[in-house]
Point group: C2
């Protein structure tokens, strides 16, 4: 059961002028499951993306990066689930190209104008014939109103579809931002999540859009972790169709840029948090906040040490304020010359440790109360500087083991 995600409905995901989506059952996954998505972009849509840093990056990631670097505008995206086309060598690359060519022919553009994406099991050959056979159905289904179906079509071990919309006023026009994402396991994005797609009808130049996607990824998908495993297929794509009637944003000094950045970042953060809330086996949503470090780097080290500790994650699952495990993680995070007698540890708003040990004011009942809630905040004040970081993770439950011990079967 995902933690505090209100069920998504079709009406919540607003169409974005210039974007049409179509899904199909290509038969990669079991019968009755949509597993193919095409996103078609109006002419002159700007597209920017960030991709996994995993060295075993998937074939579609390699091809998508290549096509984004080409001067031709992007016309469409194609996404399949059920197979990651990763660890598939040269034939994987050929399959990704073949998928692009097939879609290009259907919609009338060059293969380089298509971005391919895959997600699912790694190191098994992509069933490219099924994908190519399914494409006409997905293209026939294209409509601006299909965001909800699109969010469903990209699910793997996700238990709920994930999406969010926002509208803001920008330079005199109402602009819409809609995003969808998927991901539940193998989640410790390093540049982006498994798969995230955010579209807006704002008009903005490509360099600024590129800044936006990096900023949004850094504030959202790069701050979540489920199991510390960075996927081979992570990608976050930001599309701006320019269909809203406003003066295009051409400089970051335009006040509209900050407004757009804030709205897009909010959408990205909500999507990223949904991934954690629906993390494999998750029963708790955990915010780890590390404050007053010397650098953001060292705050992140402490935050990830806490967020990746199986001992802390199982204690959260058990609603057990086993605080010593948090101190131990802070201690092994690798912070140079850390004075443990100066730091403070809070659970929610309760001070639990200071002066190198349990706070005199701490009462076990207080810790218990906080650990029993579905949302837990672990806050560490290092008290040696002004840097801060926040990240989000989930607990480690029986179901995490069950899901991952069963995944391929």
């Amino acid at each position: 059961m995902p933690v505090n995600i209100s069920p998504l409905s079709s009406e919540q995901l607003l169409p974005v002028r210039g974007i049409a989506l179509g899904t199909a059952e290509a038969g990669i996954k079991r019968i009755g499951r949509k597993d193919l998505l095409v996103i078609k972009l109006v002419e002159n849509t700007q597209v920017a993306g960030v991709f996994t840093q995993n060295r075993f990056c998937a074939a579609p990631v390699t091809v998508a990066k290549l096509h984004l670097a080409e001067p031709l505008p992007i016309c469409a995206l194609v996404i399949n689930t059920g197979n990651a086309n990763a660890g598939t060598g040269q034939s994987g690359i050929a399959h990704a190209h073949a998928t692009c060519s097939a879609l290009a022919e259907l919609i009338g553009c060059q293969a380089q104008q298509i971005l391919p994406f895959s997600t699912g099991v790694i190191m098994e050959p992509l069933p490219v014939e099924k994908i190519i056979a399914g494409l006409p159905k997905a293209v026939a289904d294209l409509s601006p109103d299909n965001w909800f179906a699109a969010a469903q079509a990209i699910m793997t071990t996700d238990t709920v579809p994930k999406g969010v919309s926002r509208q803001i006023q920008l330079n005199g026009a109402t602009i819409t931002i809609t995003g969808i994402a998927k991901g539940s396991g193998m989640i410790r994005p390093n540049m982006a999540t498994m798969l995230g797609y955010i579209a807006t009808d704002a008009a903005i130049t490509h360099p600024l859009l590129n800044d936006l996607v990096h900023h949004a990824a850094d504030q959202s998908f790069n701050r979540i972790t489920v199991d510390g495993d960075t996927s081979t297929n992570d990608a976050l794509i930001l599309m701006a169709t320019g269909q809203a009637k406003h003066n295009p944003i051409t400089t970051s000094a335009d006040p509209g840029f900050a407004a757009l950045q804030a709205a897009i970042t909010e959408v990205a953060v909500l999507l990223a948090q949904m991934i954690v809330r629906d993390g494999e086996g998750a029963t708790k949503f955990i915010t780890v906040q590390v404050e007053n470090g010397k650098t953001e780097e060292e705050c992140k080290k402490v935050a990830y040490a806490i967020a990746h500790s199986p001992l802390i994650k199982t204690a959260c699952f058990a609603s057990d304020p086993n605080l010593g495990r948090i101190l131990a993680a802070i201690g092994y995070a690798g912070i140079e010359a850390l004075d443990v007698t100066r730091l403070e540890l809070y659970l929610g708003d309760v001070l639990v440790a200071e002066h190198g040990g349990r706070a005199a004011s701490y009462r076990e009942e207080e810790g218990q109360r906080i650990m029993q809630a579905p949302e837990i905040t672990i806050r560490v004040k290092l008290n040696r500087g002004n840097a801060t970081t926040t990240l989000w993770t989930c607990d480690l439950s029986y179901d995490y083991v069950k899901i991952n011990a069963d995944y391929r079967s």
Copy 2:
């Protein structure tokens, strides 16, 4: 159930001349569980140790390091389970000192000649009165034949006691090496294990003994991981009583030094492997071997990425050759300019991946056969240098979650 540990019996652990051990039930743990151990050393015993690098190192670790640095020889060690005396601030230090003073008075030496150790729950006050009250009983129990009882007395979530003995011929004398260890969770030692004690009656100078303990720790306890959590209390102590009748080893050029080093390292490796075999919830013993890297450092990065991946560990639990997860871990290990098309991945002796994808010769049945065994070797050839590393870990099972969600209750 521990993986392939044959049950230890009292006869297997040989006495070491000059070492006496005594245990007691001090009432820190539940009734009927030994939780206090005293190890008394004959005069002129050389003692060397390595300790956790965790910055939240426990009070007894701080005190033991202090006492080892003093010029006075060490007379005895005192170890309690049930409470780690870590994250306990200044009062923790005072409790460790009080324990040393009490034992010193009983056996007639200075408090600085005692090394204290604790293991158990973190950040709860040490019940020092119970320990002090239990010490006379442990001292009355002192005998050279108590190694097995000692191995039992230091257990926490361990399901079996862990110990091993070896005898070798050294410069014309038979010398004995006996070691015991404990540890099952919070295991990713960084210098040593939770607690390991190895004694020998060999005669050797202190600087050489110090070399030996570092070498042995590096080859054994520093190469195991259960959950990636480095404990606050790790310590490995090596004691040499000099009671064997041979010319003392005073130079590393003495052929006896190499022989002793090999034997002590073997004991340390066997103890470290026992900790993994009895890792919390372990059903598989996994050897991760990374070969032909540029440096040992990069081999270790790859090996730990594999050994800490919950996805790989759950796949091992399920006996599922989900090889893509191993490729993904290699890919995110952070190796500069790694060419994934050049590396090879083996499961046992079966080549499973090469040229960036699944090996043409690989058959799923072969992978299945290897994953079903209780001992699995994952071998990665990076093919870019001559460095190599090996480490040992276990799988991630339902029982790991159960044990750690229940630990304090």
